[in-house]
């Protein structure tokens, strides 16, 4: 409804907390694009990303009573979506990792080889030469825990300390993961991988 579009976020949050579903609908309308992109950068699959984005909104709604409405909604819901996507990646990683690893002496770290299969999406093939698409593919080629720090630092603009809290990691691990992830991205973009 158009009348909701004019309301400030804080008012919508208060109304949503009182069970006004349409007020929450307006918040969904405002944030769905951004949130979908958070999940899509992490998962790289359109359908999974839509599902998890919707799930994030539902979980956030169910937890809304505990949310301090004086805080901005965006970072909070993005954190929920990020956690859901990372859990999903972990499960998917476990499910797709073969039980018996083929014996290949001197092979690279298997997780760094875990490239998602993107060859079946025609739009990707079509845009494969483009710089942005190269970057997307490079991001998806990163192991999930590297992808997570890149997402939180570069797209959600968290500090090292905030990332450590969000991922429940020691600060030193956050830094080494982040710097290593950047090196991997650079190599891939510069055509060394």
């Amino acid at each position: 409804m158009d009348s909701w579009a004019g309301l400030p976020e804080q008012r919508l949050l208060t109304l949503a907390q009182r069970g006004v579903a349409d007020a929450y609908g307006e918040l969904v309308r405002r944030y769905q694009g951004e949130l979908y992109n958070v999940v899509y950068r992490l998962l790289g699959d359109q359908h999974e990303s839509l599902d998890l984005t919707q799930e994030s909104f539902v979980q956030a709604y169910n937890a809304l009573a505990s949310f301090d409405t004086s805080r901005p909604f965006g970072p909070w819901i993005k954190r929920i979506a990020t956690n859901l996507a990372l859990n999903w990646l972990q499960r998917r990683h476990v499910l797709t990792t073969p039980l018996t690893r083929p014996a290949q002496p001197g092979a690279e770290e298997p997780e760094e080889l875990a490239l998602p299969d993107v060859s079946t999406e025609p739009e990707r093939v079509y845009l494969a030469g483009e710089r942005h698409e190269l970057l997307r593919q490079a991001l998806l080629a990163l192991p999930p825990h590297y992808r997570a720090v890149i997402e939180l630092r570069h797209f959600q603009e968290l500090s090292y300390e905030e990332i450590a809290v969000a991922l429940k990691l020691p600060l030193s691990d956050v830094k080494s993961n982040l710097f290593r992830a950047r090196q991997l991205l650079r190599k891939r973009l510069e055509g060394e991988v």
Binding site: Y24, G25, V28, Y36, N37, V58, L135, H154, L189
Partner: protein, 195 residues
């Protein structure tokens, strides 16, 4: 002087160096082409990430989210309760009517016919006049049903005395109230849940 470490370059771009560290790094880079190139390459990655355009949202998901957070107020449960209440009501009225219409009860009333029953009848009529619209509805329901019942068994029901009618209506009204209470229960539950 040794080159800047990868960590220092990352800290530099993340604004995580303090004033002195930052000044030292800048002093070194001013005269070191290799560290300048390292920093520029890293900076290029930062810029690429910063300028990555958002992917288009494949479809609006507002309706999908709303469907999951605000389901319609349990229509299945409502219908179930409504039908139970209605069935209980009709069954009770049916049993009562046929009991009153049976020859044995008819004879009982015939024997005791007199002043006391007229008094009772007056009381019931008084109550009836003061009853609210719910009882009027009950009368409508009951009359409708009675008309149907009459067409099935015209003999005994047509012979019902006014007192018997009054009793029948009063008891049916009572059952109707109980039935209404049953119907209102889920509504109250819904209102509580909203708060």
């Amino acid at each position: 002087m040794s080159h800047l470490s990868l960590e220092t370059l990352n800290h530099y771009l993340d604004n995580e160096l303090d004033g002195a560290e930052r000044a030292a790094a800048e002093t070194h880079m001013a005269t070191c082409g290799q560290c300048q190139r390292q920093l520029a390459a890293l900076q290029e990655l930062f810029l690429a990430l910063e300028t990555l355009p958002p992917a288009p949202l494949p479809r609006d998901m507002t309706a999908g989210v709303l469907a999951r957070i605000a389901p319609p107020p349990a229509p299945a449960r409502w219908t179930w309760r409504a039908w139970v209440a209605l069935a209980v009501q009709l069954a009770a009225a049916l049993i009562l009517a046929f009991t009153l219409a049976s020859p044995a009860v008819q004879s009982l009333f015939a024997v005791g016919n007199g002043v006391s029953f007229d008094g009772l009848l007056a009381t019931f009529n008084g109550l009836w006049l003061r009853a609210d619209s719910w009882l009027v509805s009950a009368q409508t329901v009951t009359s409708t049903w009675m008309n149907q019942a009459t067409s099935v068994a015209p003999g005994p029901l047509a012979a019902l005395a006014p007192l018997q009618w009054a009793l029948l209506l009063a008891v049916t009204g009572l059952l109707w109230l109980v039935g209404t209470g049953l119907l209102l229960t889920p509504q109250r539950g819904t209102m509580n849940a909203e708060r």
